[in-house]
Amino acid sequence: MEPEILLKVEGLTRHFGGLAAVSDLNFEVRRGEILGLIGPNGAGKSTTFNVISGFHKPTAGKVYFVGEDITGRNPARISRKGLVRTFQHGSLLREMTVYDNMLVATISLMRTRPERDRRVRETAEMLHLSDQLHELVGNLPHGLQRMVSIAIAFSRRSRLLCLDEPLTGLNQIEVASALAIFRRIRDEFGSTILLVEHNMKAVMEICDRIVVLDHGVFLAQGRPIEISQNEAVISAYLGKRK
C-alpha cells in the first residue's frame, strides 16, 4: 500500500540577499509518521519551516499539502487547511493566561464559547496543564512554557504539526514527557508531526524517518538507524564542531 503523502516539498529554493538558504530541496511527509528534520546550524531548517508555513515565499519550488498547492499562500490560510507550526523562540502569548493562549487557537475552528472551552480543557488535560490554566504564561517555568506552545498548536487537532525545536531547554524528564505526548498525538489523534530538533537522542528515539540538511541542501534521508550510520551525515556534523 502506498503511504499517503501529506506534505510534499519539491525543488524548494529560497535566497536571502545573495545567499541560498535552501537549495532545490525535495522531501515528503507521510501520513501518521513523525518525521525529523535535522542538520547542523545554518542548514536551512528554519527557512524550510518558514516557507512551508507561508511566512516566506520561496524563490523557486513548490509545496503541496494533501495534494493541494499551498506555495506562497499566507500563513493563516495554510493554518486553516490543517497545518500548524510552532516557533523556535516563544510560540506564546506571554501576557495572557494559559487558557487564553489555547482559546485563541480554537477561535477559527469553532463558533461558540462552550465548544472552544471544551477543546481547551481537553487539550490541557492531555498535556498536564489543567492546573495552570489561569496562570500567566510569562510567569511559568521554561518547561511548562514549552508545553504551552505545543498545547496551542495541538488545540487545533491539525493534520500536520510542524514543531520547531520544541525540546530546547527541557530536562530529561520533561523531554520524556514531551515525547510521550507526541506519540499520543500521533497514535490517538492520527496527527502527523514534522519535527526540527537538535536533541539527537530524542530525534533518534521518536522519529520514524529523518531528513538531513546541510548548508541548505538535502544530504540524506532514512530511518534513524540508517542515518546514525551515514558517513556523510557524520562528517557534516563533525565538520561543524570547533
Partner: protein, 310 residues
C-alpha cells in the same frame, strides 16, 4: 485585578444621565458634554491600542464624523439619530479602506502614515468650499425640541458605546486583539488573518470615533478644519496615560480628571500645551498604570506597580 461592583457602575451611570438633564447652567451643560465626548474618544483610542497601535489618525475620523453629521443635519435636515449614525458610518467605512492600506505598516511607520492621513484630510477640508472651506461649517444644531435634552442624550450615547467597547474587549474577538499585540506571528499560525482583524479593530474604533465627531458638531454648532489636527490624538493620549491603559475605566477616569482640571487650571494658548504636555510626561514617568492603576493598588494594599503598564 479588582472587579468593580456592577451595581456601583450602573448607579453612577444613571446619576450621570439624570444629573446631566438637570445640569442647569449652560456652562455646566457644556462641560458635561465636553467631558462625556472626551471619555468616549479616549475609550475608542484605547480600543486600537489593544492591537498595539497608537491611532494618530483619530482626528481624521472625528472630522469625518463631524462633517458627515453636520452635512446630514444642515443640508439634508435629517433627524439627529440619523445624523449621528451617518457620521459614525462614514468614519467607520472610510477607516476600513484606509486601515486596509495603512495597517500593513507597524509601529513608527503606522504612526507617521496615520499622522499624514490626518493632515491630508485637514488640508482637503480647508479647500472644499461646499463644506465651508477654511472657515468651516456653521449652524449645526440638534432639533429645537431636543435641545434641552442634549447633554443627557450625549451622556446616554457615550455610556452605550462605552458598554459596547467594553463587551467587545472582553469577548473572544477582544482576546484576539490582545494576542495580536503580544505575538502576531503566532496568531497567524492559528488560522486568524491578522491584517483583516486589525482593519476591523480600526473600523470599530473609528465608528465610535465618528459618533464622537457628530456629537461634537452638534454641541459646538460650528466646526472647522483646525478642530481636527493631530493634537486631538495627542490630548486623548494624555487622558489615557493619566487615567491608565489597562482598563477601560482608566480611559474614563483620565478623560474626566484632565478635562475638569484643564477647565479650572488655566486659560488658553501656551498654557494648554504646557498642561497637556506635563500631564503626559507625568503620566508616563510617574504613573505607569495611570490613576486607575494607582487606585487599584491602593485598594488592594499593594504599593508598587508590577512592572509597567500594557
Amino acid at each position: 485585578m479588582a472587579k468593580l461592583p456592577r451595581a456601583l457602575l450602573v448607579a453612577a451611570s444613571l446619576c450621570a444621565v439624570i444629573g446631566s438633564y438637570f445640569s442647569g447652567s449652560d456652562f455646566a451643560a457644556n462641560l458635561i458634554i465636553w467631558v462625556a465626548i472626551n471619555v468616549l474618544m479616549t475609550a475608542s483610542f484605547r480600543f486600537v491600542l489593544l492591537i498595539g497601535e497608537l491611532n494618530f489618525a483619530m482626528a481624521g475620523f472625528v472630522g469625518i464624523g463631524a462633517y458627515a453629521g453636520g452635512i446630514a443635519t444642515t443640508m439634508y435636515h435629517l433627524p439627529l439619530a440619523l445624523a449621528l449614525l451617518l457620521g459614525a458610518a462614514a468614519a467607520g467605512l472610510i477607516s476600513l479602506v484606509v486601515g486596509f492600506v495603512t495597517l500593513r505598516a507597524k509601529g513608527a511607520y503606522f504612526l507617521l502614515v496615520s499622522f499624514a492621513f490626518t493632515e491630508v484630510l485637514r488640508l482637503i477640508y480647508s479647500k472644499v468650499d461646499v463644506i465651508g472651506g477654511n472657515s468651516g461649517m456653521i449652524g449645526i444644531f440638534p432639533p429645537a425640541y431636543l435641545a434641552r435634552f442634549y447633554p443627557a442624550i450625549v451622556v446616554l450615547v457615550v455610556l452605550f458605546f462605552l458598554f459596547v467597547l467594553y463587551r467587545m474587549e472582553r469577548s473572544d474577538f477582544g482576546k484576539i486583539l490582545v494576542a495580536i499585540r503580544n505575538n502576531d506571528d503566532l496568531v497567524q499560525t492559528v488560522g486568524i488573518d491578522v491584517h483583516l482583524t486589525k482593519v476591523w479593530c480600526l473600523g470599530i474604533a473609528s465608528f465610535v470615533t465618528g459618533i464622537c465627531g457628530a456629537l461634537l458638531a452638534h454641541a459646538n454648532n460650528v466646526i472647522s478644519p483646525g478642530d481636527f489636527s493631530f493634537l486631538v490624538a495627542v490630548y486623548t493620549l494624555a487622558y489615557l496615560k493619566v487615567g491608565g491603559e489597562s482598563h477601560i475605566l482608566g480611559a474614563v477616569l483620565g478623560a474626566i480628571v484632565l478635562t475638569l482640571l484643564a477647565q479650572y487650571a488655566l486659560g488658553f494658548g501656551a498654557y494648554e500645551h504646557i498642561f497637556y504636555g506635563a500631564a503626559i510626561v507625568i503620566g508616563v514617568l510617574l504613573l505607569p498604570d495611570g490613576l486607575f492603576g494607582l487606585a487599584q493598588r491602593m485598594l488592594s494594599g499593594r504599593r508598587w506597580p508590577e512592572g509597567s503598564g500594557s
